[in-house]
């Protein structure tokens, strides 16, 4: 683990689980999905990140301080979530530390939850969810579940680092990307992603409350989205719209 990042465990961490990631990105899809998973599955905080790489802030819940990056869990999954936008300068160390920590707990698979922005999002009735995987076996496994594969393109942000690091270290990993708004919190996209997550992990999640509270989530998430936009711009997030030059 990077010396700059410390992961402090609050509880005994179960081994051989699936580890999910919900970090601020386009449409805040991952964070909204993660927040819904925490409340629906009654996940509790099992560990948190302590690092000088994080901005000088704490998140207060019920008057008590919490790290902006925490890991939640239950008997079947671990979920890393960030309540603040992560800067482009620190994202490598932060993601590598989380992945290495997951490896130390013999995590069997990592899944990053995020979005893929589409310009005509307002007009799309049924949102598609795409997947990319760290190795051919994982790619086939998600294809067999009926998830669309993101065949060509660029990926920018926390999920890009996760995919690369997992591919380098031989850890099976999948990134799920729901079609979403680029700049606006998108609870519908988070709901679409959670439905596909069920098919991959078997963890059933009711998304009806998430859809019912859509407007409230959009209102609450404005400030996180605003800060995330600033960091996405520094990361050249719009490169995901680019058409790649295929080098064989």
């Amino acid at each position: 683990m990077s010396e700059k990042v410390e992961i402090i465990e609050r509880k005994e961490i179960p081994h051989d689980k699936v580890m999910l990631f919900g970090f601020p990105d386009v449409g805040l899809v991952g964070v909204i999905a993660a927040s819904h998973l925490i409340s629906e599955l009654n996940l509790t905080e099992v560990a948190y990140m302590n690092s000088r790489l994080l901005p000088p802030l704490i998140v207060l819940h019920e008057g008590l301080p919490h790290s902006p990056i925490r890991i939640f869990g239950n008997g079947s999954i671990l979920l890393a979530v960030s309540e603040t936008a992560i800067s482009a300068e620190t994202i490598y160390d932060i993601m590598h530390s989380l992945i290495n920590w997951g490896r130390s707990k013999n995590v069997r698979m990592m899944i990053s939850m995020s979005g893929i922005p589409v310009q005509d999002r307002q007009d799309i009735e049924k949102l598609k969810v795409f997947a990319a995987a760290s190795n051919p076996e994982m790619l086939k496994a998600v294809q067999d579940k009926g998830v669309h594969v993101l065949k060509e393109g660029y990926m920018v942000g926390p999920q890009a680092i996760m995919m690369q690091h997992c591919a380098n270290t031989g850890l099976p990993a999948v990134t799920l990307l729901a079609q979403c708004f680029f700049n606006y919190p998108d609870p519908e996209a988070a709901a679409a992603l959670l439905k596909e997550l069920t098919s991959i992990t078997g963890t059933k999640v009711d998304v009806s409350k998430l859809l019912d509270k859509g407007e409230e989530i959009r209102l609450r998430a404005r400030d996180v989205m605003r800060r995330t936009r600033q960091e996405m711009s520094k990361m050249n997030k719009t490169q995901e719209y680019d058409i790649p030059l295929y080098v064989s």
Partner: protein, 147 residues
């Protein structure tokens, strides 16, 4: 044939300072952090976005809880539009879990500067999935003939 009046040095300097003031104001707006709500005016500032295409400028604004028939889009000056919408219900800080501030909000409000010249007197507006979309048509500039 129309003749163009030559501008005096004072007019040029005055215009220069006006432009400088406008740019300073834009930088100030971009750099100085402020809350996304105005407790005195009881307004919440929604998220917005601007896209410039060769023929039009498309402004979108995310308007959660907006009552569709109360949405107003008003031009302010030559390069700014104002968006106002009443919310379906009053939102208090308490509703958002915030107990150290007091106040309630019932209007979404923002002003958006348009980065290129547009006709602000004619625009197309639609509201779908809680997102307001405004199409403003660009003013044509001087075209350089290709020889």
């Amino acid at each position: 044939m129309s003749t163009r009046r030559r501008r005096s040095i004072f007019e040029i300097i005055s215009e220069y300072f006006e432009n400088l003031e406008e740019w300073t104001e834009r930088f100030r707006e971009a750099l100085i952090e402020k809350p996304s709500w105005n407790h005195r005016a009881c307004t919440i500032e929604p998220l917005s976005n601007i896209m410039v295409t060769p023929t039009e400028v498309i402004v979108t604004v995310d308007l959660p809880y907006a009552e569709e028939n109360t949405i107003r889009v008003k031009p302010i000056g030559r390069d700014t539009i104002e968006i106002l919408a009443k919310m379906k219900r009053k939102i208090r800080f308490d509703d958002l879990g915030i107990t150290h501030y007091k106040g309630e909000f019932q209007t979404l409000h923002c002003q958006i500067r348009i980065p290129v010249p547009v006709y602000t007197d004619k625009m197309e507006v639609r509201f779908k999935r809680g997102i307001l979309e405004i199409h403003l048509f660009r003013k044509r500039g001087h075209e350089i003939p290709i020889e």
